[in-house]
Amino acid sequence: MLSEKKGKTQKTKIIDWSYLFSLFLSIVLALLVGALIMAATGHNPGKAYLALAQGATGCSSIGEFFTSVFTKRQFGNTLEYTMVLTLTGLACVLGARVGIFNVGGEGQLYLGAICSAQVGVILSGMSPWLVIPCAVLVAMAVGGFYAWIPGVLKVKLKVNEVITTIMLNSVAIYFCSFLSNGPWQTTESTRRGGTQTLAGELRFPRLIQGSSLSTAIIGSAVVALLVWYVLSKTTTGYEMKLIGQNSRFSFFSGLKVDTITIWAMVVSGAICGLVGMFEVYGVKGSYQDGISNDFYFDGLLVAMIMRYNPVGIMLMSIFFAFLKVGATGMELIAGVPGELYRIIQAIVIFFMAAEKGISGLVKANVEKSRAKREAKQRLKEETV
């Protein structure tokens, strides 16, 4: 009986169904609480959620969704934001895999954005086939370098990376603000602050007119696939996983723990820099202050909620982008303040954090009903 029981618990599951279920449950609970808040503030929750869906997809009926969703401006925005969250989330995963927490993505993103924008300004007039690769390289190099600093500090001097990366965020953001309002400021009379607007041929073509969705999504998909491949299918991903799980064991086993940790941080920063470049070349057309609206922190939340699972992050990003973009629709159509989106997001995270408790409850219930069934079975057998 003992060995039988052990066998049951020792099986590792490929898909953690109970986790997915409790995840689903917490999302539903969060939406319910959101509905309560709306009802309490005198809004119709049903209408509001419909408006949310409408705001995120641009479709007012299911039929329309199937026929023309890919032409809708709002849907383009949702996809674009999904892409941003996926990339920033994966950047966070790269660090987390080796046990280093990169909270400095925001700064890396800003630096990548402004430097790549300036590359476009300096090289303006040259072929996009030259300028774009240069901009990509510069954005990744700058972002990577900016993540290298806390990485080295962590590895060589054991400086806590959470503190350094957070502080470096402010340094980067204010430095960019200085550049864009000083040496690199645009001379255009229509705008104040920000870098010079990029020439039209340098900007990524829009995939849906009027939306912020550009061909950058193709680049993003490639990067996301690469990250997933490296993490799950290569020796490097295997080594990263072991280092994150037990760095002493990894060092003992002969892995280059320090080198791999620093490189993971550098690549994480490089991806953040790339997101900044995509934002400039794909959406805004120039660097402007506040170019990232907490993109990295949103991605970080998604990564944490999905427990740093790359595929999970891609899926969860859709949900979060849907909420964020749809919030505008909710505001315009149903008159619900867009801030409610923030509340719902916070509640979802809250319930995620309580996920352990919720899944524990689920497990306990399953166990209870199983015991009851067994008892009934035994009773039957005994009476027979």
Partner: protein
């Protein structure tokens, strides 16, 4: 105390105790009476449920079924606080002492004598401890700082702590695991004395059967959560107990061996290494290990042997001196580089260093070989099928008991976890093996398995450096033995020319008693 006197009064009664953890039945319907004034030994393999049962008595766990009676009263609320009030004291395997406090402060903690209601009265505390120590004949210096005491003395402080709280039922969880043979003898004499003179009841949990024979009046054997039987110690012997524990006769026979050492494979010269605090832990040690021999290190924990092995394997910096592995200096090299010189290492702390407990068995078996052509394509793409095949083969060959190769290593028992470590390290087929505490905390079956694998490596010509807290293990496996005390080598012997007791004296740096022992 045993023999003629009929022991009547039951002080502790376990009535159909069942303790269920998720997926594990740790105690299965246990009925056991402990009599007043006896020394009761509880033996069993690891995971047999001995500690769980005692933790129930001490109130750490509430049993999922059954009742506990202490001195005839039913236990209704389970907490250590309550257990202490009922006169139960427990000395854990890992001491629960505040290292920076004095002996007196540690003993009176939570029941301190006070001045004007709030101030700690250190004089009264020391006097109380002195009285207690005289009363029971347990000599300690009340004003000594605990950090500076030997392990044996610290254990004595733990016992006094329990006595101070008025315990008359004392539980000792593997008390001898960290003691030298001499300290063990002292402990046993002391226990017998307090039982005889004060009418105490002692329950002792242990792995070591000769200790059961030496000290207990009665013995209970546990296996897989069940109590297999309770016997008067005088009616059994080690062989009977061993077979009750594992369900088959197990005795450690000596290995037959021929000693033909080959080339020098490990050479340590004037090695100096610091510990974590920056103090010298290894103070100029030199020795050599040749192919085809096992050099055993006998030392009590904390005498620099851990630091020595960490330095040899690259986990710790060398201050001065040098180590040569297969004629290459390891100075300034990483563990990875040293491994490539031909070294594999079974570390003393298998959970912290030996495995990644979150990773599965396959991942743990693979590390170090994961970049070889056998398991990769283009040098970076991992061939899952090859890995699975390899892991399954090792899994079977080393008889690792788990649901499969995708089982997380963290949930394996100690023995199976160690098998994973040994399987991985032995499969590198290196000429040099550094082995530390290969069987700590393992059961007899696993020990036998691991010992024979180590001997097989030796017979194939490996140079093996073995360090173990278990003297019997060192004696059984080694060709030569060195003893280390306070970072220095105190003696070197051929294993078949020395006894446990003699080694014990060298391990404690006490060579003056050498002559006395030779006479014995």
């Amino acid at each position: 105390m045993n023999g003629g006197i009929v022991l009547q009064e039951t002080v502790v009664k376990f009535d159909h105790i069942t303790m269920k953890f998720p997926g594990v039945l740790a105690n299965d319907d246990i009925c056991l009476d402990i009599k007043k004034g006896e020394i009761f030994a509880l033996v069993g393999e690891n995971g047999a449920g001995k500690s769980t049962l005692m933790n129930v008595l001490y109130g750490i766990y509430e049993p999922t079924g059954g009742t506990v009676y202490v001195k005839g009263k039913k236990v209704t609320s389970f907490s250590p606080r309550n257990a202490i009030d009922m006169g139960i004291g427990m000395v854990h395997q890992h001491f629960m002492l505040v290292p920076s406090f004095t002996v007196a402060q540690n003993i009176v903690l939570s029941q301190e004598p006070r001045k004007i209601g709030v101030l700690f009265d250190s004089q009264k505390a020391e006097a109380a401890v002195r009285n207690l120590s005289n009363e029971f004949g347990l000599k300690v210096d009340p004003s000594a700082v605990v950090r500076e005491l030997s392990v044996g003395l610290q254990q004595r402080v733990e016992i006094l702590k329990a006595l101070y709280r008025g315990s008359d039922i004392l539980i000792l969880d593997e008390p001898t695991a960290i003691l030298t043979p001499q300290e063990t003898d002292e402990l046993f004499a002391m226990l017998k004395k307090i039982v005889r003179e004060k009418g105490m009841t002692v329950i002792i949990i242990t792995h070591k059967l000769y200790e059961v024979m030496a000290i207990s009046d009665r013995v209970g054997v546990m296996r897989q959560g069940r109590l297999m039987g309770v016997e008067e110690t005088k009616n059994v012997n080690e062989r009977i107990l061993a077979s009750m524990m594992v369900g088959r006769e197990v005795i450690h026979n000596p290995f037959t061996r021929t000693y033909q050492p080959g080339k020098v494979a490990i050479s340590v010269k004037d090695l100096v290494v610091n510990d974590n605090r920056g103090l010298k832990a290894v103070k100029g040690v030199s020795f050599e290990v040749r192919g085809g021999e096992v050099l055993g290190i006998a030392a009590i924990e904390g005498n620099g042997q851990s630091e020595l092995l960490e330095a040899i394997t690259g986990l710790r910096k060398i201050v001065s001196g040098d180590v040569m592995i297969m004629d290459n200096s390891i100075k300034g090299k990483t563990p990875g580089e040293i491994r490539r010189m031909g070294l594999a290492h079974i570390p003393e702390d298998r959970i912290a260093t030996g495995v990644s407990s979150q990773a599965d068995i396959a991942d743990n078996l693979l590390v170090g070989k994961h970049k070889s052509q056998e398991f990769t394509r283009f040098g970076f793409h991992m061939r899952k099928s090859a890995v699975t095949k390899y892991a399954q083969d090792i899994f079977k060959r080393y008889d690792i008991r788990a649901a499969g190769i995708n089982t997380r290593v963290g949930i394996l028992s100690g023995g199976n976890m160690q098998k994973v470590v040994i399987a991985r390290e032995f499969s590198f087929e290196t000429p040099v093996l550094i082995i530390s505490q290969p069987t700590r905390g393992l059961d007899i079956g696993a020990i036998e398995f691991i010992h024979s694998h180590i001997m097989e490596k030796r017979n194939k010509g490996c140079a093996i450096l073995l360090c173990s807290a278990d003297l019997d293990e060192v004696l059984r496996l080694s060709d030569r033995i060195i003893t280390i005390y306070e970072g220095k080598i105190t003696g070197e012997f051929m294993a078949d020319e020395i006894t446990r007791e003699q080694i014990g004296y060298y391990m404690t740096g006490d060579r003056s008693r050498e002559d006395v022992n030779d006479a014995v």
